[in-house]
């Protein structure tokens, strides 16, 4: 096992001699996507004419199906088959694992008569067209026996239980420290239930080749989907060939598979035809996961100079009764600011609603909406600048575990951001700046998000045409993975980008964990780099051992790679020539990355500072973002354009969290109020007028051999808090119930007599 010292040595990526690393090259698959020619899972070519499946969803939150009759649907025009739990083919029991090493257990569809949430699959129709499949739904007769359901988070918050397997994290004596503090803040924030709102719904195209099933599906993790389907069908995973080449947004919601995958595979087996199944927009809201609502109480105690003495963040959140999940909204607070007396923890309410799960920086995204506003309140109370308050509480080592930071440029992010944004123009008195009927204000917040490296592999083939093809069971969910892997491979092998191909999203390829938790680039990228290094050694040995090579007999360790050639002194030959002599398939190698043995000896995060200027309509309470700017530090940047896209995209999601995004469970029915993109309000272009970000120069040599870190989730962290703080600065109202919609802002303005 390597140690981080091994990673500190110079390598082709850190030397970056051809300049591919960091270069803002366009997306590898961009043209395919914008011309509509990138085949998504529902659109892939099938070996014969496909059938179309439609899933029927439950309309009660809890109970059982007392009677269900699908026969009228089965005999409808164009319908091939219709299933309920009574006639769906046999699947393994929920959670069962034939192979104990499977990443996921069985996840049967229509598995029983039990209904555990509104929107759960209760029947399935297969027809010749999607229209006929959907039209037949009205011919299914279902009688439910409803049970009492716990649906309203608010009414259970006070009786929340401990999060399973977790204890509060306590350092020092919070209560004593807090009560001895000269200046305190004690307030409670609420972040509502949110939906991922991906453009592409969950979708699968499946067909069988003998006893093997081929599934094209939209999923962030190849192995998880492959294993879940194999276990559900009760077959070994090598009989499931899962492909996921293009994904129209994941945001955490496609970290797992859903019933479209299972039912497409079952229906393809039953019908002997390829089958396509997609979730409806409504099912994307009701039948996948969501971010749960979170209530967060923050208590801060400081002395008059602003030094924090005590800090607590206690979160209460919810999950489905039988699918434990904790939105870890308090965890980030453990590593952010120094304070000797600390308390963080989570409580959980179990409800009879769809499953809660990971979404866009789970934990930090809602969590920072509380603490970063509490810091603003504390600064206000102290009469201090919010940046000065944060700098005063900048820790020298990780306050949670006393580990040294690998690299932490949080203060520099704040200072550079303040300068570029024009923070000195902020009037600290709320409500002091007007522009016509608009109150105008500025706010800031910090961003922190963990950095991770997971084990991963990759394959690399160099062929006689000089083309290097990287293969990896990795996914690109719209982040740019294809592109950065090409850049890494090109730079490692000294090849121009047009001689590099990247193939992803195939369970037959060397596995990588997929996209999520902003670990994708570092993990898959490091595996690609290590594989490139294996290829370099292999090619050098081939040249040294091949009498036809001009480098024959030389020391492979001294050979270099540049401009498509292998080079030693003034002698060289092209990689194409070398590969063509190696055989018709060229040269193939595999490589891998694992976390360093001592990686956990350092505290490792990405950081940022967010700045926002908002207008608040003094008449209506509408809040509009006027401009937003962020400075971030996230290790070496692989592609300046794509990294910025990731960061600014995250910031925009933060705008949504602060101002518009919200869903709610109707306590009478168990259904979500909003079930389409016209009602669930993700930000639109008109909301984002002037928004930009910069990334500081950084290399984190404790992170991985390339010194890179994740950027996928950092941008959302603290973004919404900066906006909420700007709203306060604009009009003097503190709103702690997100999103800050006009009704809430107006009520607060009126309460102040404005």
């Amino acid at each position: 096992m390597s140690t981080v010292r091994d990673w500190a040595a110079p390598n082709p990526i850190t030397e970056n001699r051809s300049g591919l690393i960091g270069k803002p090259v366009d997306r590898y698959e961009g043209r395919l996507k914008v011309t509509g020619t990138a085949p998504y899972a529902f659109e892939v070519e099938t070996p014969s004419t496909p059938l179309y499946g439609h899933i029927v969803s439950a309309t009660i939150p809890r109970g059982r199906i007392a009677a269900i009759d699908v026969s009228q649907a089965a005999s409808a025009a164009g319908v091939v088959l219709a299933w309920s739990h009574l006639d769906v083919p046999v699947q393994a029991q929920r959670g069962a694992k034939l192979n104990p090493r499977s990443q996921r257990g069985s996840n049967p569809a229509l598995g029983s008569d039990r209904v555990e949430h509104y929107g759960q699959s209760v029947a399935f129709i297969l027809a010749d067209t999607p229209e006929n499949a959907r039209a037949a739904e009205s011919r299914i007769r279902i009688t439910y026996e409803a049970s009492d359901a716990d649906l309203d988070f608010g009414s259970f918050i006070d009786s929340a239980g401990p999060a399973p397997g977790e204890e509060d994290a306590r350092i020092g004596d919070f209560e004593a420290g807090y009560s001895a503090s000269e200046v305190t803040v004690d307030a409670t924030w609420f972040s509502p239930l949110q939906n991922h709102a991906q453009m592409e719904p969950c979708a699968t195209t499946a067909w069988w080749e003998g006893d093997k099933v081929v599934v094209h599906t939209s999923i962030q993790m190849v192995k998880g989907g492959q294993h879940a389907l194999a276990e559900t069908l009760g077959i070994p995973s090598d009989r499931v060939h899962l492909l996921t080449r293009y994904i129209g947004g994941g945001f955490g919601g496609k970290g797992q598979s859903y019933d479209d995958l299972t039912l497409a595979a079952l229906a393809a087996r039953e019908s002997g035809r390829p089958v396509r199944v997609a979730y409806t927009r409504r099912q994307m809201f009701q039948a996948t996961i969501h971010r749960p609502a979170v209530q967060m109480r923050v208590r801060l105690g400081a002395d008059k100079t602003g030094r924090l003495n005590a800090m607590a963040l206690e979160a209460v959140t919810h999950c489905a009764r039988n699918a434990p999940f904790v939105e870890h909204a308090a965890n980030f607070a453990r590593n952010l600011y120094a304070a000797p007396h600390r308390l963080t923890g989570h409580r959980l309410v179990r409800l009879d609603i769809p499953h809660a799960g990971a979404m866009r920086a789970p934990g930090e995204a809602p969590g920072m909406l509380s603490l970063e506003c509490a810091m603003d309140e504390l600064a206000d109370r102290l009469g201090m600048d919010p940046i000065a308050l944060r700098i005063r509480n900048e820790p020298e080592v990780d306050p949670d575990n006393a580990k040294p930071f690998s690299v932490r440029q949080l203060v520099r992010c704040m200072q550079e951001g303040a300068q570029q944004f024009g923070w000195d123009r902020r009037n600290p008195t709320p409500g002091a700046v007007r522009d016509g009927r608009w109150y105008v204000g500025m706010g800031m917040a910090t961003a922190i998000r963990g950095n991770f490296l997971l084990p991963a592999k990759a394959g690399l083939r160099l062929t006689g045409d000089g083309l290097a093809t990287l293969t990896q069971g990795m996914t690109d969910i719209g982040t740019g993975t294809y592109t950065i892997l090409a850049q890494i491979t090109g730079e490692t092998l000294g090849l121009p980008l047009d001689q590099v191909r990247v193939e992803l999203g195939d369970s037959n390829m060397p596995p990588a964990p997929g996209s999520g938790g902003q670990f994708g680039a570092a993990t898959a990228g490091s595996a690609a780099f290590e594989t490139g290094m294996v290829m370099r050694r292999r090619l050098a040995e081939l040249a040294a051992g091949d009498p036809r090579s001009p480098l024959y007999g030389e020391d492979p360790m001294l050979m270099d790679f540049a401009n498509g050639n292998i080079v030693l002194g003034n002698r060289s030959e092209s990689l194409a020539a070398l590969a063509s002599r190696a055989g018709p398939d060229g040269v193939y190698v595999e490589g891998s990355i694992s976390p360093a043995a001592d990686a956990r000896d350092w505290s490792q995060h990405t950081y940022g500072a967010q700045f926002a200027e908002v207008g608040v309509d003094s008449v209506t309470g509408e809040v509009r973002l006027r401009r937003m700017f962020g400075v971030f530090a996230a290790g070496r940047i692989l592609n300046a354009k794509l990294a910025k896209s990731q960061i600014t995209g995250g910031m925009i999601w933060g705008v949504g969290a602060a101002l518009t995004e919200s869903n709610a469970v109707d306590p009478r029915y168990g259904s979500f109020l909003h079930q389409d993109l016209g009602g669930y309000l993700a930000p639109v272009h008109a909301d984002i007028v002037n928004l930009d970000a910069v990334l500081l120069d950084e290399a984190d040599d404790k992170a991985n051999p390339m010194g890179i870190k994740g950027v996928g989730e950092l941008g959302i962290c603290g973004s919404g808090a900066a906006i909420a703080n700007a709203v306060y600065n604009a009009c003097g109202v503190r709103l702690r119930d997100y999103p800050l919609t006009p009704d809430k802002v107006l009520a607060a303005l009126e309460a102040k007599g404005l």
Partner: protein, 314 residues
């Protein structure tokens, strides 16, 4: 989607005879609302009569100094017409605040008027809704939705109209011209095209099944400033929490009733010399519903009236 017959009308008479022959038919123009609702099985017509190619897209001057806008003029064309922009800016602005460019390029004048409510519970076929399924109940009452009617709601329905454009048309005293299969042509104010829900919320307008909108006629614009304001959490592509149109001494409110709501009490108060805030308050005397919404409407109307007096056009 339920299977349906599709007919393309060759001319107006053909459209009307098709409608008369097929009682469950619906006219299809831009399709931006009807087709969505059919996919969700909220609308389930047996027959669609495509009127989209009828020659009803002209905008022309009227003898009385107004404008006649054909029923099939697209929202984009109307909003960008120089005559509309200069003489009826409140209308151009109202249209541009609705939907998206892509939808406005498809949506027609008549179709915009005929669009159905966006009440969350109407849009979810699994929920009780008297407008969608008469007698099933109203889940918006006691529900989570914010956008319920302040004016003219009944115990059966509290849905509000989703059309921004119609609010501007109402304040401009626009009229809708229709024709029926028997050849009878009728004109009625846009303001009263839509019914209040009463005990039959499933019936949105007082148009007969075989009645086709031919045009909307605008009288000459009133003197004085015109103002359009639409309140919403996000800056585009979402219905109003409330809207207001002011033209001279006339005021109409949007997203507060099943029809564009001419604030007659406000207008009367203004005529009597009341201050804008008092005049706005006068209308709310007859309002039911949540305090916050009333407050929003009062502030919005008052501010828009003041702005119109400065000649404002925002």
């Amino acid at each position: 989607m339920k299977p349906f017959a599709f007919e393309r009308a060759r001319n107006v008479d053909h459209a009307l005879s098709l409608a008369a022959a097929a009682p469950g038919a619906r006219f299809l123009a831009g399709g931006t609302n009807l087709l969505d609702l059919m996919k969700l099985e909220i609308e389930q017509p047996d027959t669609l009569i495509d009127v989209g190619r009828l020659p009803l897209a002209d905008i022309s001057e009227t003898a009385g100094g107004g404008l006649r806008i054909g029923a099939l003029a697209t929202n984009s064309v109307v909003a960008s017409d120089p005559r509309i922009r200069s003489r009826y800016p409140v209308l151009a602005r109202a249209i541009l605040s609705g939907a998206s460019v892509q939808l406005r390029n498809k949506a027609s004048m008549g179709g915009n008027l005929m669009q159905r409510t966006r009440c969350s519970y109407f849009m979810d076929p699994a929920m009780p809704c008297n407008k969608r399924l008469p007698g099933s109940g109203c889940s918006a009452m006691g529900g989570l939705s914010q956008a319920t009617a302040l004016f003219g709601a009944s115990e059966f329905c509290a849905a509000v109209s989703a059309s921004d454009m119609s609010v501007a048309l109402a304040v401009l005293d626009a009229e809708v011209e229709t024709v029926r299969a028997d050849g009878s042509v009728r004109r009625r104010p846009v303001e009263t095209l839509h019914r209040l829900p009463g005990d039959a919320p499933q019936v949105d307008t007082d148009l007969a099944p075989d009645e086709l909108i031919l045009a909307v006629e605008l009288p000459p614009p009133p003197s004085g400033g015109q103002v359009w304001r639409k309140v919403r959490a996000r800056a585009s592509y979402i219905g109003a929490l409330a809207s207001v149109a002011v033209a001279g001494d006339r005021v109409a409110l949007g997203a507060v009733a099943a029809r564009p709501w001419r604030a007659r009490a406000t207008e009367a108060a203004l005529a009597g010399g009341a201050a804008p805030s008092e005049a706005a308050e006068a209308e709310l005397a007859s309002a039911s519903g949540e305090v916050g919404r009333k407050s929003l409407v009062r502030r919005l109307a008052s501010d828009a009236i003041q702005e119109s007096r400065k000649g404002g056009r925002s």
